[in-house]
Amino acid sequence: MQRETTLARDSGRQPERTGLSWSRTALLALIAASLSIRLSLSGTNVIHLLPALLLAALAGAMLHHGHQRSRYIESEEVVTAASRRFLLATSSVLVIASTIHIALLLARLMR
């Protein structure tokens, strides 16, 4: 009985907390993307734009995913774990974006 009420109360907050977590991460990705735009002004090559584009795309995907996910959690009684592929893609985008940044900085050093 007590377990049921605890679950009911808890499940009310879980979607909200998870959804908000996604959206504030998306917001930070957007900030990082807009900072990276400045980097694209420092070169004519298209690759200078890539980190900003990647991070902006990540922010958009995260907003969408978080929205979908909180709706899904609210509607279903049993919730599966996060989409493994989406989390893997999120991690990968960060690794790729920072690697490109590093490459650009090193290229500037060589000049």
Binding site: A32, R38, A82, L94, S98, H101, I102
Partner: protein, 132 residues
Amino acid sequence: MNLQSRAVEGDSAKDKNQKWWKTGTRPDYRFSLANERTFLAWIRTSLAIVAGAVGIDQFASHLGSAQLRLVLSLFLLMVGGILGGLAYTRWARAERAMRQEADLPLSLLLPFLALFTACLSVGLAWLIIDFG
């Protein structure tokens, strides 16, 4: 199949037949969601460090020397990239442990991150006072 026979068989033999995200039992969804939010917190940490690196590189032209800014940015970008990648492996390890009802994996990442942040703050404060 109980835990013991699984341990005897060895993980490698089992992994070939079944992906880890299909082994064991599905954990309580609240734990999975908490794990997901922890993943996102690590992603935010990584994003903040990357943003800091870009900020130092592009917007702090008065801070220290050009070489110092470059080294600092490179270092921050490396840490940010590594943390971004580790976010996924941490999530996966915790998820796997929960599925198999094992202990959650320990990690040295937190004390390292604390040390890193402390050193960075002191270093930046020194730079700002000295060159600001």
